[in-house]
Subunit: 357 residues, 2 copies
């Protein structure tokens, strides 16, 4: 049976001061009045009933996740005692799913993406799922690039294996890490490269077999966690084993060396909302090019990104700024320096100002 | 006996979002960790005991005033039902004082100025007070100008009447309204002009006699208020009469036409803290020229004025901005446009966002 695994483990310091240790990006109402995680969940319920939707998140955000997704069974929220990158995350989910459904097929999705064209999204997901159900292997969804982006990894497609509901299922030729802009332009010109979206499909048993073959230490830890399911010891075993799992990504730890692997080019409107300025991709702007959420008063100000989690924000005569405010913290930074928010978070850590971290 | 009257009736929209209808500028901790009103009070206690210090403020801020000045008798806080400009304010105080002390001498001071050199301040005040005690008339303190300021009115001095404790007491030749910069430079070059500080001294009976002579309608209203003192009807009479008092300033309604008037040039370091950027006159800056109050994280940012009433404010890579934050409102404006905060307050009023007004 098809299960969806939502990966909600990100820490998201890029969205300070809205994001905090106990409320990372996926819990923020960045794109609408619902948190990104909730939007992701609602995008999937037309495909899969709540009892077959699972969320893997940090232990510290398990309760918050349950509050945001009250329709989902509480046990479907899997808490990671510590983050150990995505290979451990998807393996953990596969072990838990296989223990309750030996034939589980997993659609694995990040919690923090914004997707328009939801029908097209679900058709594409269904095509990928059908491929792995019928032919096995590990599948990754690739976005048709719309520009020479340097912020994503790329996938090179191989031959077409078959076509499902107008979607071409290709063999996956290779992964490449984030390129420079010239290389990205080459990829775009070549036409056989896709953006690596971080969305996957596989049978739980196929994923675990690949982990067995490629990452034996991870497999060993995951097996202990899997064997403990339903024994009453699972929390104890998880807390013992998880912190020692190898830390590696699913792309480079599993997909890169997988024996049978596929990719499906998809083209629904998508954003990973990687930074405050990226809100421009998902929110409409006013006549002066300002993007805003929350109560704002904007006078003679242009092209700003303004996000309030409560306070009224008033901007007068300023341009190209990101201004974010919560009741206990405010940040002002030019749009083209927004990545420096990480330096602020580091400084707050140095000062021990934990109340705003 | 000498009494001090602190005028604390200002509304101070120029300090939004820190200032609000129920917490105007004089109640803000702009220059230190104590409100400006408290600093003004503490500046005076070496001269006058608390029971002879009086505050005139809006009815809505009487309780807040009593909280900030707990050592002062509660009845020394005089509430104006509505603001009717400074002639009514000083006349009201003079009526109340005369009713409990027929020989009252009043030193009248704004609540929201910042003054360094406090000893010199008190020596100057004492000299002015002695002049009106001994020779009667109305006296205004004038600041020796340090530049061609266009934000103040000016006083032209006349002949020296006498010298008290090294302070020259001049007759007051004339008042002039805020000049343009060329005129201000002329005044500076002429050398016989002072900034009009809004600080006064007079006997209560001399002030009331001038009001009688020049503003008979005001005098009539004030007499009704004065006669009601101690009858148990004073609150009722005040509420009835005060809203109908003529609205005029003490400078143009009383001083300009006064029969006997003096001015004392003074030169202590002084600021009326007229706007957010004026905080530069009263607070020290960091190495990058930033002025800040409250918890801030400043990275690669220069010459900003940053004021927090609670939230941590983080500025990255911005210059010459005023950033002010409270838990429920934030303002960002270039230093050279800070006067536009008034337009924000108007817009909030138009929208009916009373919770942040």
């Amino acid at each position: 049976m098809l299960h969806v695994v939502i990966m909600a483990g990100g820490s998201g310091t890029r969205f300070w001061p809205a994001s905090r240790k106990k409320r990372p990006k996926q819990f923020l109402q960045l794109a609408s009045d619902r948190p990104l995680l909730r939007l992701t969940y609602e995008r999937l319920t037309p495909m899969v009933p709540p009892e077959r939707i699972w969320v893997v998140t940090a232990s510290s955000t398990v309760e918050l996740t349950r509050e945001i997704l009250p329709e989902m069974p509480a046990e479907n929220v899997l808490g990671e005692p510590v983050g150990r990158d995505t290979a451990a995350c998807v393996g953990f989910a596969a072990e838990v799913l296989r223990s309750c459904d030996p034939d589980a097929v997993c659609l694995v999705l990040p919690a923090d993406h914004v997707i328009k064209d939801e029908d097209e999204f679900r058709r594409a997901m269904s095509a990928g799922v059908r491929q792995v159900e019928e032919r096995g292997g590990l599948l990754t969804f690739g976005l048709k690039p719309t520009g020479p982006e340097t912020g994503f990894g790329y996938l090179q497609v191989g031959d077409v294996n078959r076509t499902i509901d107008d979607y071409h299922i290709h063999s996956l030729s290779r992964f490449v890490e984030k390129p420079d802009v010239a290389t990205a332009q080459d990829y775009l010109d070549q036409g056989d490269f896709l953006w690596n979206s971080g969305m996957f499909a596989w049978k739980a048993e196929d994923l675990l077999a690949e982990i067995d073959r490629q990452l034996p230490l991870l497999a060993q830890g995951l097996r202990r966690i899997g064997n403990a399911q339903g024994t009453g010891d699972q929390a104890k075993v998880l807390a013992e084993v998880y912190p020692h799992l190898p830390r590696i990504s699913v792309d480079f730890g599993i997909m890169e060396g997988a024996a049978l692997r596929w990719t499906v080019p998809v083209s629904f409107r998508w954003s990973d909302v990687g930074s405050w300025p990226a809100l421009r991709e998902v929110l409409p702007s006013d006549n002066a090019g300002n993007i805003s959420r929350g109560r704002t008063v904007i006078l003679d100000a242009n092209r700003n990104v303004i996000v309030s989690e409560g306070p009224v924000i008033s901007l007068i005569g300023v341009e190209d700024l990101v201004v974010v405010a919560t009741p206990d913290a405010v940040m002002v930074v030019p749009v083209d320096q927004a990545q420096k928010v990480k330096a602020v978070v580091e400084e707050l850590e140095n000062r021990g100002w934990d109340d705003v971290l």
